[in-house]
């Protein structure tokens, strides 16, 4: 039996090993077969950073005692057992060198029973070496981000054994961020050093780096050092304290920056939504309670556009990714049309009767909500972000999500556009004329009816685009409008009517305050506080931030 096996294996071994497989695996095979600890140590260390899953698997197996050696007269072939075991507890043998099964002369895979086999030797020293190698394996991960994460984790273990490997890797690493995290990991590991000089230098290094990952370690060492100053020495206390302070303040700024960013993006959505509301209220003296539902129409338009593009281009790729641009345009048009119908059908009978317009448009909002519930169902629908809008920039440890960055930029675009529309176009001139004196404008030949219609459609179109933007950062459902309408109204109340600058400031005020308060008070109490603040603010400035003074007494 053994003889036969030997013969077959010989045949199998005779096949040449391809060059690509050569270095790490050969290295490993040598290590397994070596009898000399020093040589083994060297060989195993060579394996660190090898980008080969087979090596990793084999190392793990070796450490766990499940690498076996297939011996013939003069060759020894280390192998693993295949994971699948047949009914007779037999498993195939997999050669480490090339991952191929061991075969007999007929080319049939050889089968082994675990109990018959003797594992390859692994002394405790070797096992420890293997563990380090395995831990450090991720150093060689092809993905820089994975590499970075792994290094950060390794650094936090503060294992001095890793130090030489970090340094080795630093020499060959090309990715700047990975080098950064290597330096951080080295310093963090050195923080645990017994040598006070090394320790202090490392602490100072981390402080300089504003290393958020190590702040808890630094705090710990500061506490420890204060407890037993004899052991650590005053320099350590000082350095740790300074480093913690530096990092804490850096984090505070980072948090502030992050909060500001989220506040900015919420403000941006509010702004685009409230701008339309403020213009129509200023122009026509009507309050559109269905404005939120117009936003909803925009969001669902984005959803439908997405589905259409999915049908054409599949669920990913450049074709699909361009859907959002089309969705913005479509939502502007669809929502604008809804606004047009609303204006012609309801609003135009209610000019300068804000209370009545409030009621009628509330009715419209009920109708629209129920209509969309009928068509699309009561549950939220999924609108996926195009690939260029998912992901985020990282600037100084602050995440800036692309979709939010886009929304902010878009809001700026809309505000500038609206401002130019109002100040540079003839429609804008007419809008402003009607806003100031409807009767006079009509006397000098402005078709006020048409101006109303266009303005309302434009305002609704803006709301529609706001809805499309919302589909990227929030849920899309029939209740979407209701979640934002009160905030929008608050912006209008706060900013005054018919004043672009007022609306901008007010939406910034509401959005920012909301986001600043949320971490402290929670979402609900934050909202309530904002509402309370607005009511109190109006005590001081009853007509909002920016008042366009009206000369007529009965205004």
């Amino acid at each position: 039996m053994l003889l036969m096996l030997t013969a077959v294996a010989w045949v199998a071994l005779a096949r040449p090993v391809s060059a690509a497989d050569f270095s790490p695996r050969t290295n490993l095979v040598q290590a397994i077969l070596s009898e000399d600890l020093a040589e083994q140590t060297q060989l195993i260390q060579n394996l660190i950073g090898a980008e080969d899953p087979m090596v990793q698997q084999a190392l793990t197996a070796w450490r766990g005692g499940s690498v076996y050696i297939f011996e013939t007269n003069d060759t020894k072939v280390p192998f693993l057992l295949d994971g699948t075991i047949d009914a007779n507890s037999n498993a195939k043998g997999i050669r480490i060198i090339d991952g191929e099964p061991l075969k007999d002369a007929d080319g049939r895979p050889l089968l082994f029973v675990t109990t018959d086999l003797t594992p390859a030797d692994a002394s405790s020293k070797v096992r420890k070496l293997i563990k380090v190698a395995l831990d450090l394996f991720a150093l060689g991960n092809a993905n820089p981000k994975m590499r970075r994460d792994a290094i950060t984790k390794l650094g936090q273990e503060q294992n001095a054994d890793y130090l030489p490997h970090f340094e080795a890797r630093t020499k060959i690493e090309t990715d700047k961020e990975v080098i950064q995290s290597l330096v951080e990991a080295v310093a963090l590991t050195q923080v645990a050093s017994e040598d006070a000089k090394v320790r202090v230098a490392a602490i100072q290094k981390l402080g300089e780096m504003r290393s958020i990952n190590s702040v808890s370690f630094l705090k710990q060492i500061e506490t420890d050092a204060r407890k037993t100053p004899d052991k650590f020495g005053p320099e350590t206390i000082q350095a740790a304290h300074a480093a913690v302070l530096a990092i804490d303040s850096y984090m505070a700024w980072g948090n502030l920056f992050g909060t500001a960013f989220r506040g900015l993006s919420l403000s941006a959505v509010l702004l685009v939504a409230a701008l339309g509301l403020a213009i129509t209220f200023g122009l026509m003296g009507v309050i559109n309670m269905a404005h939120g539902e117009v936003m909803m129409v925009g969001a669902y338009t984005a959803y439908v556009t997405q589905n259409i593009f999915k049908g054409w281009f599949g669920a990913s790729g450049g074709g699909f990714d361009s859907y959002f641009i089309a969705a913005l345009v479509a939502s502007f048009i669809v929502a604008g049309l809804v606004g047009l119908v609303l204006e012609r059908g309801v609003i135009r009978f209610l000019y300068k009767r804000p209370l009545e317009s409030l009621l009628a448009t509330w009715g419209v909002s009920l109708l629209l909500q129920q209509l969309f519930r009928h068509i699309f169902g009561a549950a939220n629908v999924q609108v996926s972000s195009p690939s260029w809008m998912s992901g985020s920039y990282v600037i100084n440890d602050v995440l800036l999500a692309y979709n939010r960055v886009f929304v902010i930029g878009f809001a700026v675009f809309i505000v500038v556009g609206t401002y130019l529309l109002l100040t540079r176009t003839s429609l804008g001139l007419q809008i402003r004329a009607v806003m100031q004196n409807r009767a006079m404008a009509s006397c000098v030949g402005v078709r006020t009816d048409r101006v109303n219609m266009m303005t309302f459609a434009y305002g609704s179109g803006l709301a529609g685009m706001a809805g499309a933007c919302l589909s990227q950062i929030g849920n899309v459902g029939p209740g979407l409008g209701q979640n934002y309408i009160i905030d929008c109204f608050m912006v209008v109340v706060l900013g005054g009517v018919g004043n672009v600058f007022g609306t901008v400031s007010a939406s910034l005020g509401v959005g920012m305050t909301d986001q600043i308060l949320q971490p402290w008070l929670g979402a609900v109490m934050g909202k309530i506080t904002v509402l309370g603040a607005i009511i109190l603010f109006l005590q001081w400035r009853p007509a909002g931030l920016f008042v366009t003074r009206s000369r007529s007494l009965e205004s």
């Binding site: 003074r549 000369r551 007494l553 009965e554």
Partner: protein
């Protein structure tokens, strides 16, 4: 009556600007008790803003506004100023359209203005008498049961003046009473105002020069928020500066 030096109303160094626009600019204005004063001036001269400041609708940026001996009006709000005896008629007639003419006057009668007193008050015989007296003065006796909304434009103007009279104010501020009236109505309004002068001090803002000529003894001309000149109608009309302001003949640089 009182000494002639005692002004019923004085504005000293009053300024008010809106968004950088100086609506009132260092205005000085004095008025004797019982006087009927007409204020004219081109659009934007600050006439209505001046009334706003006197009645507490707008606070001046600086300056003194005194009523009678030493009542500072700048610290008071509209209804407190009204209770001192300053009544204001708005440019567009402002009456309670859903109430009868009688009720309109009733609500304006002198008396307590607190919430509780209005709940429990009853109309007394003397009040009724006073209302009819006012209705007679403004010539609306036979319209007492009409809803004010059903009155003509001129009648609404008279009703509003009647509402002021019912309060028996010391000072009446009347903003363009003749606007939108027929010639006949305008003449009647003029007579009405003249009959009230003496008993009350009256400030009238007006554009209609025929009307001004009819009622005015002293005319003050406002221009760019300050007093340009003061005098009789003839004096004012022949004043070079006034002509320049109104007709825009710019002979000399200012």
């Amino acid at each position: 009556m009182t000494s002639h030096k005692q002004f019923i109303l004085s504005l000293e160094g009053v300024s008010k600007s809106f968004d950088g626009f100086k609506a009132i600019n260092d205005l000085n204005f004095y008025m004797d008790e019982g006087e009927l004063r007409v204020i004219i001036g081109p659009n934007g001269a600050g006439k209505s803003t001046m009334l706003d400041i006197i009645t507490g609708r707008t606070r001046p940026d600086k300056g003194k506004v005194e009523f009678g001996a030493n009542t500072d009006l700048t610290e008071l709000n509209e209804y407190e100023i009204n209770r001192l005896g300053i009544g204001r008629k708005f440019q567009t007639p402002s009456v309670y359209i859903d109430h009868t003419v009688f009720e309109n006057i009733l609500l304006s009668l002198q008396g307590s203005r607190s919430v509780w007193s209005t709940i429990f008050s009853r109309v007394t015989a003397s009040q009724r008498e006073r209302i009819h007296e006012v209705l007679k003065t403004i010539g609306l006796t036979d319209r007492a049961t009409w809803k004010a909304g059903a009155l003509s434009h001129g009648q609404k103007q008279w009703l509003e003046i009647g509402m002021l009279l019912a309060q028996n104010p010391k000072l009446l501020l009347v903003d363009e009473p003749a606007a939108g009236m027929t010639d006949e109505e305008t003449a009647k309004t003029g007579e009405l105002l003249m009959s009230l002068a003496g008993k009350h001090s009256i400030i009238v803002i007006e554009h209609d020069m025929v009307f001004v000529r009819q009622i005015a003894r002293t005319v003050s001309v406002l221009h760019q928020g300050s007093l340009l000149c003061e005098g009789t109608v003839d004096q004012v009309q022949s004043d070079e500066r006034v002509i320049e302001v109104y007709l825009g003949r710019k002979k000399k640089a200012q």
